[in-house]
């Protein structure tokens, strides 16, 4: 019989007037993977952060191993063998990875008041090997690691306290396909030792695949808890949103469809050490997916196309005019746009209002005589955009930081799409976005495609690329491995074969 490791009774938590968790009752079994599903803002992260001591509960009780458990901070939670990998990266960039792993817990490695780095590295290496988490450079600066590698680093940090309850908050979002495989293997291994994982993820297919039990949260309440085998994907979506999502949100046609006209011509694009010899054409009304394993260079390709990287070689030009696109300015002038994977750092002004964020890429086109920018016109544009894209907020003065991930992305995307674009480069546009907004973004992209926009869709999710693209450019080892067509080549096996 499965034994209970954690029991939550009538737990509630509010932030001011917002009730984030309402009368939560939950029981986690030893050796199982328990999934928490829910839209953005449904209270999943709050619940997880209470369990691992980051937030304090308002009322209710938690029992760990049968004893009452009320951690005041993550260290106390750690002493009871509970740890968590948080959604937002919690890593100090200019310390070495190994120091990051033991940050705050370096006492054990002190010898005569000096840290024994070799011992630390050995301890970290042990975790890495024990759980088969793949290769990771432990010295150097952490900021040079990719987002995926940093996530693995955080996982090792969480594991280094020897937890028997591990909470993973949106960990796979940041991982590419191959790293995900490592993660899934790790999860099996970990629970095989009788330890428990509480998993939060937006990727419902993934959740159905790896969880034993799933609880669905909606507006802070648990609306269903069932064995995974008893859930279907449709039912899960339905429970989360409280209404049916009409049909599948991907395309259902099986053919590549786009205009004859070539918009963008890329020839032998390269960046020393990061990208080699990539050539392709983007057509009018085409969605060109870009896929590859982590470090294959798919994100580099986006940044290079936009002209952000130095020492770029090769040629990117507009086919119709022959205009070369060397710098971001040229791309924007030619009617292009680029949304980076890291929308908080590269896209949005988090502390500014929705309105301010919307206008920044647009004010350049709105000036009258003497560069005059009419405040009325600017406000109207922000207002209309916010309404047209159904951004959920109290108005255009709402601070962007306070929006959910999905609405943040709507702000980020809408301000570009209202321009008269010819093409757009999207790097993981649905990262950290719940399925409601995800479906909405796909709908928007479909419309844009119909209107003749060329779309380069860089994606970590193979299903997304397959579901949306006309053609997929597969990258391997910083090079183009091939371009596959929707008409003939779109099977997972075929694409993965090209990737490896």
């Amino acid at each position: 019989m499965a034994e209970e490791i954690l029991r939550i009774e009538n737990l509630s938590k509010s932030f001011g007037p917002t009730l984030a968790n309402k009368n939560i009752n939950l029981s986690l079994k030893r050796g199982s993977v328990h999934g928490l599903a829910g839209e953005n803002g449904s209270g999943k992260s709050t619940l997880a952060s209470i369990v691992c001591g980051i937030q304090k509960k308002d009322s209710g009780k938690i029992y760990k191993d049968g004893e009452e458990y009320s951690p005041a901070n993550p260290i106390e939670a750690g002493n009871r063998h509970v740890s968590m990998v948080v959604q937002e990266l919690g890593i100090v960039g200019n310390l070495s990875p190994v120091v990051n792993i033991f940050l705050g817990r370096t006492e054990q490695f002190k010898k005569n008041g000096i840290l024994d780095f070799n011992k630390m590295e050995k301890a970290a290496r042990e975790q890495l090997d024990k759980w088969e988490l793949g290769e990771l450079a432990l010295d150097g600066m952490t900021e040079t690691l990719s987002i995926g590698q940093r996530k693995i680093l955080e996982l090792i940090r969480a594991l280094s306290i020897d937890p028997d309850l591990l909470i993973l908050d949106e960990i796979s979002q940041a991982l590419s396909q191959d790293k995900r495989e490592i993660l899934y293997k790790f999860i099996k291994h970990f629970t095989g030792e009788g330890k428990t994982i509480l998993m939060i993820t937006h990727d419902l297919e993934e959740m159905l695949e790896i969880c034993d039990t799933i609880s669905v949260l909606r507006d802070g309440e648990i609306v269903a808890t069932k064995a995974c085998a008893d859930f279907t994907l449709e039912e899960l979506k339905h429970k989360m949103i409280g209404r049916e999502i009409a049909g599948d949100y991907y395309r259902n046609d099986q053919e590549e469809q786009y205009g004859e006209e070539v918009i963008l011509e890329v020839e032998k694009l390269g960046v020393p050490g990061q990208l080699e010899d990539v050539s392709f054409q983007l057509h009018k009304g085409e969605v060109l997916g870009v896929c590859g394993l982590s470090d294959a260079g798919i994100h580099t390709l986006g940044a290079a196309l936009f002209g952000l990287l130095e020492h770029r070689t090769g040629k990117v030009c507009m086919k119709a005019t022959g205009k070369l696109l060397n710098r971001p300015k040229d791309v924007i002038k030619a009617g292009g746009a680029y949304l980076s994977k890291d929308r908080d750092a590269d896209g949005l002004m988090l502390d500014a209002s929705i309105g301010d964020n919307i206008i920044v890429p647009n004010v350049g086109d709105m000036t009258g005589k003497f560069g005059f920018l009419s405040p009325g016109k600017v406000k109207k544009l922000a207002q209309e955009t916010s309404e047209a894209y159904a951004i959920k907020s109290t108005g255009i003065d709402h601070i962007v930081k306070r929006l959910s991930g999905g609405n943040k992305q709507k702000v980020n995307l809408s301000r570009w799409l209202i321009k008269d674009l010819k093409f757009i480069i999207l790097d993981c546009p649905t990262r950290g976005v719940d399925i409601g907004v995800k479906a909405y973004i796909y709908e928007v992209l479909r419309k844009a495609k119909k209107a003749g926009l060329g779309i380069i869709l860089i994606s970590d999710e193979l299903s997304e690329a397959m579901g949306m693209s006309d053609r997929i450019l597969v990258m391997r080892d910083h090079k183009k491995a091939g371009i596959l067509s929707r008409t003939t080549d779109f099977t997972e096996d075929k694409i993965i074969e090209v990737m490896l």
Partner: protein, 322 residues
């Protein structure tokens, strides 16, 4: 709640000025409101406001330009020397040229060579002071007679209004102004919007330099001549005017021109009132420091309570989860 934030945020500078007026009105038994004293207040505020009109572009990018004290002296001294030799008409062009060059240098150091603006401008502040000492060599340079008309209050008022209108236009009604504030919020986001951030930065520093130089000419004409210590400590006065007016220390969208225009008389009134109360110079300095600290703290506090801005993060107020 959002509405409240806007109101309180907007009212703070006026509240501080009003409070100052009441305190000194009572303490000096109304002497502060004496007509001659009010004219003095205005006359003293002019240079601070003019220099602030330039510095605000740099401040709203989250940068710092403390070259002002020495730059004012260099450009004023040069302008006076050239004015003596070639005629007063050359004073402004010479000063503006020097200011623009200084801004170009500082902007290039900051934007292209990535030297933090505080350190770059501190170095220039020190170097320019040495330069002033060298060219003046402890002598006093007098300004030509024909230019003294610019020190008349009526002229100053008109000149000030014209400059406020021009800068206000640039700051609030052009894409350039939007970009400058956006850089203060998130430089990377502006870069990703395809805007040449380096160019915007350099232009902002050039405007800052030019306005400091113009302030220099007004100052030297008011005093009648240039000596070694002309303008020393001026950069601090300008910064105090901005921050006491409630311009966020870290820049960004909360940077507003009216805050500077209210802040400048506030800081001058504070000095003037203390002097009228018979306070010694040392005490005046001390009180100025305390008042500045208090205002900056309250500005930060207000953002954390009503706007959860970057400021809140800086003073350690945490965000709600999710």
């Amino acid at each position: 709640m959002m509405k409240m934030k806007i109101k309180i945020d907007a009212l703070l500078p006026f509240a501080v000025l009003f409070l100052m007026l009441i305190i000194f009105g009572v303490a000096t038994k109304g002497q502060v409101f004496n007509g001659q004293n009010l004219l003095n207040l205005f006359s003293q505020s002019v240079a601070t406001i003019i220099a602030g009109l330039g510095m605000i572009f740099v401040a709203s990018m989250g940068g710092t330009d403390i070259t002002h004290g020495s730059l004012l002296a260099v450009s004023a001294a040069f302008a006076a020397i050239v004015g003596q030799s070639f005629g007063a008409v050359w004073m402004f062009p010479v000063a503006i040229l020097i200011g623009a060059c200084s801004g170009l240098l500082l902007g290039t150091l900051n934007a292209k060579f990535k030297v933090p603006s505080f350190m770059a401008s501190l170095s220039m502040l020190i170097a320019f002071r040495a330069f002033v000492n060298w060219i003046l060599n402890s002598r006093v340079v007098m300004v030509p007679e024909e230019i003294t008309f610019i020190d008349e209050n009526s002229f100053k008022l008109v000149a000030l209004i014209v400059m406020i209108l021009i800068i206000g236009y640039l700051f609030d009604f052009t894409p350039f102004g939007t970009y400058v504030r956006a850089i203060g919020e998130n430089e990377n986001a502006v870069k990703h919007a395809g805007i040449n951030v380096d160019k915007i930065k350099i232009i902002a520093f050039i405007i800052s330099g030019i306005m400091a130089a113009i302030a220099g000419v007004f100052t030297i004409v008011r005093i009648g001549g240039a000596s070694n210590n002309l303008g020393s400590g001026f950069e601090m006065k300008v910064m105090m005017a901005m921050f006491i007016g409630g311009i966020p220390v870290q820049g960004g969208m909360g940077s507003k021109l009216y805050k500077l225009i209210v802040g400048a008389p506030t800081i001058i009134l504070l000095e003037n009132g203390l002097v009228l109360c018979g306070a010694s110079g040392g005490i005046t300095q001390g009180i100025r420091g305390v008042v500045l600290l208090a205002t900056v703290y309250f500005t930060l506090l207000m953002y954390s309570r009503f706007g959860v801005k970057k400021a809140a993060r800086k003073i350690g107020v945490t965000e709600e989860a999710n």
